[in-house]
Amino acid sequence: MEAEAGSLPSQGAGTQDARAEFGRLVEAYWRSAYRFAYRLTGNPEEAADLVQEAAEEALRAFSRFRPGTRFDRWWLRILYNSFVDRTRRQRRQSHLPLDDLSGKLLATESWADPEAALEEQLDGPVQRALNALPPEFRAAVILVDLEGLSYEDAARVLRCPPGTVRSRLHRGRLALREWLRAYVDAVRRGELG
């Protein structure tokens, strides 16, 4: 079954099989695609829309998917591509400069109190801090720190060298460390995480 999927004709007898295989893979990986999209966009509706768009692109390109390689990574790569196109079209991203480590984000938000941070409530501050990162840096942090990908796998999704992942990740983390300072300190004191 798997071996045939790589050489499926775009029309005709194989189409039904390909469609069934595609459905099986989507069902296996839609949650991880959604998590990536949600972390990238910070918005449930937009995330669902992005996953849908990436599924359409993936189905259209499915004849180029090589069986034996990981569908989830391939799909995330398509999804990230759609996201990049989208942010260029929408032109409404507002990121903080990475060098602005003054902690303004914390000071102006009511969630600066780590005592109040249970795991569910932690999602808000983390997501707001991620939103403030430039998209390429946000994507590197999400893939490695939240989704647990290796630098090599993250580099394939982001289409850049692993060394670029490492430097984006590091600069992104340094910014997050300052923006989430109160939480980082709470983790270090053993009160959180």
């Binding site: 959604y34 990475l98 290796s150 060394g163 670029t164 980082v184 995480g193």
Partner: protein, 145 residues
Amino acid sequence: MRHPQDLLSGYVDGALSAHEAAEVAAHLAECPACRETVSDLRALRRLLAAAKPPDPDPQLLPRLLRTDPRPPRPLLHGGRWLAVAGATALLAVASARVSHLPPGSGGAVRELREHARLATHTPLRDVGLASFLSAFLPDPVEDNP
């Protein structure tokens, strides 16, 4: 003392070669500032791993399973075309500025920084940001060829 910068993230992730890891370990033994950074990075990683995103709308999966293949997007279409044109124009402006500088001038970096500052006030801020960051990062920000 030269701090090993982004090697610290690689160190925390266990993603360095044995040689690099030994170098970082030797530096950490002598540098309280980098030790502090490493402790913060470990705490940050735990913090990020602990945050739970909301569950997706259960209606999403059935919608995905009804997906129709997406028709190819027209190449010269709407915002995408404008973005390409805009990026090309910005690039032309940036090159024109840099070309006015004396050869070997360190001012090119300042020009890019200024260009990036201006570009962040335009709708095409990502282009400006990419050129700004590429002046400082050891690795290219642009995609792999």
